[in-house]
């Protein structure tokens, strides 16, 4: 218990604080620039002539970087951060942002310059982007430590080279020389510049990743909190030659190798790579450890997602988009701070502190790609997760399920991509004409080989959903789920059937017959006793 504050103790505290300020005045100064921080690196980039600047463009900086880091761009070229492409070996599908369709802004296709503001490169403004050019790698997006580097939202990956207004705010042009001289390791902030804003804004997409993770309290993320272990993203998502471990397209739903020791094949970012295969302190027969073969760590240890005080989007209905006000500007409606309707995008629902949905998951994800027939009368799963109770590789995982309503090709019953962003007449955000936007999107999709289907010319709206595995925002162990959260008739796993779970399941016949026999026995002895009393009295 904290003692009550008294006037005297307050005075003493103030005096002590003043002394401390005098003695350690340096502490009160603003944080020192990154380059002057305690150097773990053996190189101080601010001393390099190559980085003296000034730099006119991003690629100019990259050219300077590559003078020393000769292999860096070649390495980045192989990474998914650059290719936005992944050949999924289990399904044979070609996935990655370049090829999949989602129910946020639908697809990269025909919207390049807007989406690629989060590409680790410069200039991907259309499908002709040359993926072999080394100087188009954006080193600063990940290695900036000053926090001043920013990629312009519609700049195809380039930062603003002069202060530029965007949606009513001015985005300041970074001092590229200063940023280049301050480069260092990646951080929650640098990764978060893109990953916390997936889906077009703060916290929109994942639900378990938002800017609260830049400096989370322990209660939000026990590993990344500066109050605790202060992990960066790459502590778990280890990078080797600029390629990271861990991908949502190809997950390892269950680790079987346990702790990764130095020199061994790294098992990260699996929880087991540090916590091992029997993570709970256990006595004989302890049940917690015997759950790990069927229940992912995340299921109990991330009791809720979107816990950082930022709401994540849970529903997006494109079919209502297009309402304009008298001036012809898209209508925007808010509930509190949250936009619930935007004429550009349609209607939204949001949620905070959300209970995940739980499904069996073996790590393999299949996507409904462009050109595949869908049933517009049904809810289309844009991605399908596989696994079941009998599958030794599968465990019960928590998911954010994003639901929505999005355009599809009514003539062919296939998903469509839309040309949303652009300065031309067909762009939806210019003229609010779905007919033109879908046509332009599908023509581009066909041109780049995303589909072979011709657009029928008629669009409709179909309900879709998407599964997003929840794996960040691991809570302190005190906040983990308790047994009864699942071991109950109406518990969190009520919908996962096909296996016996104590507390939830029972053989109804055993219960029925059992209780009937118990009642009969009880009635029998009561009757027997009663007759004894009556006959005993009669004899007496």
């Amino acid at each position: 218990m904290k003692p009550e504050s008294t006037p005297l103790s307050g005075l003493l505290q103030a005096a002590a604080y003043a002394c401390a300020l005098l003695a350690f005045g340096a502490l009160a100064e603003p944080p020192a620039p990154a380059a002057a921080k305690a150097q773990a690196s053996t190189a101080d980039h601010s001393k390099f002539e190559e980085l003296a600047g000034p730099f006119a463009t991003g690629p100019d900086v990259t050219r300077a970087c590559l003078q020393c880091h000769t292999e860096a761009a070649k390495q980045v070229h192989k990474s998914i951060h650059w290719t936005w492409e992944l050949d999924q070996p289990q399904t044979g599908q070609r996935l990655g942002k370049r090829w999949v369709v989602n129910n946020y802004c639908l697809s990269l296709t025909a919207n390049y310059a807007r989406c690629t503001s989060c590409h680790v490169g410069y200039g991907w403004k259309d499908a002709s982007f040359d993926f072999t050019v080394e100087e188009n790698v954006d080193c600063l997006a990940c290695h900036d430590t000053t926090g001043t580097y920013v990629k312009f939202p519609t700049g195809a990956g380039h930062p603003p080279y002069e202060d530029t207004p965007f949606q009513g705010k001015v985005i300041k042009a970074p001092d590229l020389a200063k940023v280049a001289q301050g480069v260092g390791k990646t951080s929650r902030q640098s990764c978060g510049a893109c990953h916390f804003k997936g889906g077009g804004g703060e916290a929109v997409k994942h639900g378990d990743m938002d800017s609260s993770l830049t400096a989370p309290p322990k209660s939000v993320d026990v590993h990344m909190s500066p109050e605790g272990l202060n992990y960066s993203c790459s502590t778990c998502h280890e990078f080797k030659a600029h390629e990271q471990a861990g991908s949502r397209y190809l997950m390892k739903a269950k680790s079987e190798t346990g702790v990764s020791l130095p020199g061994q094949e790294s098992n990260r970012p699996a929880c087991e790579s540090c916590h091992g295969l029997t993570p709970h302190a256990s006595g004989i027969g302890d049940k917690l450890n015997s759950h790990v073969d069927k229940v992912a760590c995340q299921t109990c240890h991330i009791p809720e997602y979107a816990r950082g005080g930022r709401a994540t989007k849970t529903y997006w209905d494109w079919s209502t988009a297009g309402r304009l006000d008298a001036q012809g500007k898209p209508v925007v409606e808010k509930q509190g701070d949250l936009v619930v309707y935007d004429g550009m995008k349609g209607s939204f629902e949001w949620g905070e502190n959300l209970v995940p949905e739980y499904y069996w998951f073996d790590g393999s994800v299949r996507y409904t790609l462009l050109g595949e027939t869908i049933d517009p009368g049904d809810q289309t799963e844009l991605n399908q997760i596989s696994g079941g109770y009998g599958d030794p590789k599968a465990r019960i995982w928590p998911f954010k399920v994003m639901r929505g309503r999005q355009p599809y090709d009514k003539g062919n019953d296939i998903l469509v991509v839309g040309h949303l962003f652009g300065k031309d007449d067909a762009a939806y955000w210019k003229t609010f004409d779905w007919g033109k936007a879908v046509k332009a999107g599908m023509e581009e999709a066909k041109r780049i080989g995303q589909t072979t289907a011709d657009y029928s010319g008629e669009y409709g709206f179909a309900d879709t959903l998407m599964y997003w595995p929840i794996t960040h925002m691991v809570a302190p162990k005190e906040q983990a789920l308790g047994c009864a959260d699942c071991h109950a008739k109406d518990g969190r796993l009520a919908t996962l059937t096909g296996f016996y779970m104590p507390g939830r399941d029972a053989n109804p016949w055993i219960d029925r017959i059992g209780w009937i026999l118990v009642a009969a026995t009880l009635a029998g002895v009561l009757l027997h006793g009663l007759v004894r009393i009556v006959t005993g009295k009669r004899r007496a």
């Binding site: 104590p502 507390g503 399941d505 053989n507 055993i510 219960d511 059992g514 118990v518 026995t521 002895v525």
Partner: protein, 208 residues
Amino acid sequence: MSRVKLFTGFERFWHWTQMALIFGLLFTGFEIHGTYTILGFEDAYETHRILAWTLIGLWVLAIFWHLTTGEWRQYVPTTKGLMPMVLYYAYGIFSGEAKPYATTRSAKHNPLQRLAYLGFKLVIAPALWISGLLLLFYTSWKGGPLGELVQLQYIAWVHVAAAFGMLIFLIGHVYMAVTTGHPWYAHLKGMITGYEELEEPKGRTGVA
């Protein structure tokens, strides 16, 4: 009538500890089963586990005691005198007939008791132990040959069914043991003090 020490200190300790453990196991077990929520699943499970291990320990002691003292013979079943016991409880008891069995130190259970306790010891209790241990160690055997043959739910069904058997046994046992002595509470008193007033084998007449 003579006052005879029928139950040794160990037997009484064993009996009453076992009673408390079994009541606790039934109470927590049916909560784990989802019949009601009182302690909450977690506490019910944890208590159930501890009580179960304690009862296993008690049984190891009791089995050792029975083997070394030869008292296991008390449970050897016999058909001799069984029917009169059944008829007594079905009919004679109402008309004030004498119990057709004379308890002695070396044969303290009547034939019906012997059969009931043997059933408890050879059927209900082992079914609970074996299914309970299989449930507790499910993850260690489910990958092996037994796992191929048996699904978890079958084990759970056996455990629950045997628990019903235990409950039914208890109702009958409590009724018989607590109310059918002379006076009605004599057996209960005997199990507490160890002593019971036993009738001389030849002099059993005229009971109230």
